[in-house]
């Protein structure tokens, strides 16, 4: 018989081990994040949101973009529960990668970690708010906590 696991508190992947790279299309997202402002790439021509940011709007092929400030809230679309450390020199911990539908940016999603909850209590449809995690080189990574 299947007995669901009790995992305990979910934590975020340690920021000291996370690095990102940017290009001219993704840089504005990360610069806004540095100011603790959650944004998403919006087509300035037709209003379609796309993430990750990319050189063309897939709806109208425009290259004009806007970076509206979002509420910083969203809904868990799906998730996994992971129990092994992704890094060989860090001992195992429980973390929950989540795919989040962002409020105010239809079709735009972020993939992040959810903390502040026991992993076994995470549910699709859970309401979450952004929680910034410092990572390498002074960047801030948007993660989430239940609200």
């Amino acid at each position: 018989m299947y007995v669901p696991n009790r995992y305990g508190p979910a934590v975020v992947v340690p920021g000291d081990y996370i690095s990102i790279t940017t290009d001219v299309w993704t840089e504005p997202f990360w610069q806004a994040a540095k100011e603790r402002r959650l944004t998403a790439c919006k087509c300035a021509n037709c209003g379609f949101f796309r993430m990750p940011p990319s050189p063309f709007c897939p709806e109208c092929q425009s290259q004009e973009v806007q970076w509206p400030t979002l509420a910083g809230t969203g809904t868990v679309f799906s998730f996994a529960i992971c129990t092994r450390s992704p890094f060989p020199n860090v001992s195992d911990f429980v973390y929950v990668p989540v795919v989040v539908d962002l409020d105010g940016a239809p079709a735009a999603r972020l993939v992040a970690n959810l903390s502040g909850v026991n992993a076994e209590d995470v549910r699709i449809g859970m309401r979450v708010g952004v929680d910034w995690t410092p990572i390498q080189e002074g960047w801030l990574l948007p993660n989430f906590r239940p609200i």
Partner: protein, 397 residues
């Protein structure tokens, strides 16, 4: 409309090395294993290696995950006098089944007469699939996924499985049935890495690697090589083996699936799917076949959940009905409506980026499979649900 090239080409030779657990093929080299599989395929077909004049690869000509096949090197190594075709499908293992269509393109365009498709995999510690993405520096694109700690394909696949469970009520018992039924198929096969019987309780005791997926939901990590040879139907009829005709073959897919779990932007219902539906719909349309015509299905099983979602996307059951469908015993070799992965698949036999499925399809249609489906006439083979292109293939005897 029926495909213009239906049954105009055929697979006439299949060759393979033994299958080894991850890393155990060392000190053999990748090209050595590929060469052994190609020479074995030529011997099976009853042709000389000197008659090979084309190469049709999958996965960007990847040899495993860190290396590339180089046709020039294979020509030099094996003594192939001249080639007229050397091309690959892009993407990864999604294009595995589609390589047969690429070989058909070579032959029907009169560029080549005997085309080889080969895959070799050797997962030495530095080249182990599950660890590659954690070592790669995040690209600007991947900086939107990798920091979440979803470093392996299993992590990412589990998120799709979770969505499917949420939308349709799919239970872990269904994934367990896929693993157990394929294990049953592997038991009589000497080539299989895992041959011990498995119970549902043992499945549930398998450690969770990315909840809702446990270790047994992940495919094996193995080494080895498999090659097959495609030629024209006319040549095939004069060959040593019973021809296995390429009845239909499609590759591609839709924008909604796109980069799939490297992206996570898929809407419903594509998110909780294998992404195969556009490829499957075209395959049925061009072949004139329907799911109930298929005698045996070799569905790419890098993860158990993707067998279930392909059964839905190919129409063996309705969307969202994959769980009850497999739990009813429908995919069992013994008594199932559609026997699936009769060789044990990548979950229990061996994982050579889908090519073991090609071998099994050929053996089924020659009537020599270990778990022979009696009277098998039509086999479905699929490439791995992954970034586009993905692919499907119908073979007949």
């Amino acid at each position: 409309m029926t495909w213009a090239h239906q049954d105009k080409t055929a697979i006439v030779g299949i060759g393979y090395t033994p299958y080894w657990a991850r890393g155990d093929s060392f000190p053999r080299t990748l090209n050595e294993m590929a060469g052994q599989a190609i020479l074995a395929a030529c011997a099976d077909a009853g042709i000389s290696i000197r008659q090979i004049d084309g190469f049709a690869y999958q996965a960007g000509a990847g040899a495993g995950y860190m290396d590339k096949f180089d046709t020039a090197s294979l020509v030099e190594t094996l003594g192939i006098p001249q080639i007229g075709f050397s091309a690959t499908l892009t993407g990864g293992g999604g294009g595995m089944a589609g390589a047969a269509g690429l070989a058909t393109a070579a032959i029907m365009n009169s560029d080549a007469t005997y085309v080889v498709t080969v895959m070799a995999l050797q997962q030495l510690p530095a080249k182990r699939l599950g660890t590659i993405s954690s070592k790669a520096a995040a690209s600007p694109e991947n900086s939107f996924v990798q920091p979440s700690g979803m470093i392996g394909p299993g992590h990412r696949m589990s998120v799709l499985a979770r969505r499917h469970m949420h939308l349709y009520g799919t239970q872990r018992e269904a994934f367990g049935e896929i693993v157990i039924s394929q294990r049953e198929n592997a038991i009589p096969r000497e080539t299989a890495i895992r041959r011990t019987p498995l119970t549902l309780d043992e499945y549930f005791a398998s450690p969770m690697l990315a909840d809702p997926l446990c270790r047994l939901d992940f495919c094996l990590e193995t080494d080895g090589a498999v090659a097959f040879i495609t030629t024209s139907a006319d040549r095939a009829r004069d060959g040593r083996q019973q021809p296995v005709y390429i009845h239909g073959c499609t590759h591609g897919g839709g924008r909604e699936w796109g980069r799939a779990f490297a992206w996570m932007g898929m809407p419903d219902p594509e998110f909780g799917s294998s992404g195969h539906k556009p490829v499957a719909d075209r395959l049925w349309a061009q072949s004139g076949c329907k799911p109930s015509d298929i005698d045996v299905a070799l569905l790419y099983d890098h993860f158990s959940c993707m067998v279930l979602m392909q059964l839905e996307d190919y129409g063996f059951c309705g969307k969202g009905e994959g769980g009850p469908f497999v739990e009813s015993g429908a995919i069992r070799y013994k008594g199932g409506a559609i026997p699936v992965n009769t060789h044990g698949g990548q979950l229990s036999e061996a994982y050579i980026i889908g090519m073991t499925h090609m071998r099994e399809a050929v053996e089924q249609l020659r009537g020599v499979a270990v778990n022979q489906v009696r009277g098998a006439e039509l086999a479905l083979v699929t490439g791995g649900p992954a970034s586009l292109p993905i692919s499907g293939l119908i073979l007949r005897n």
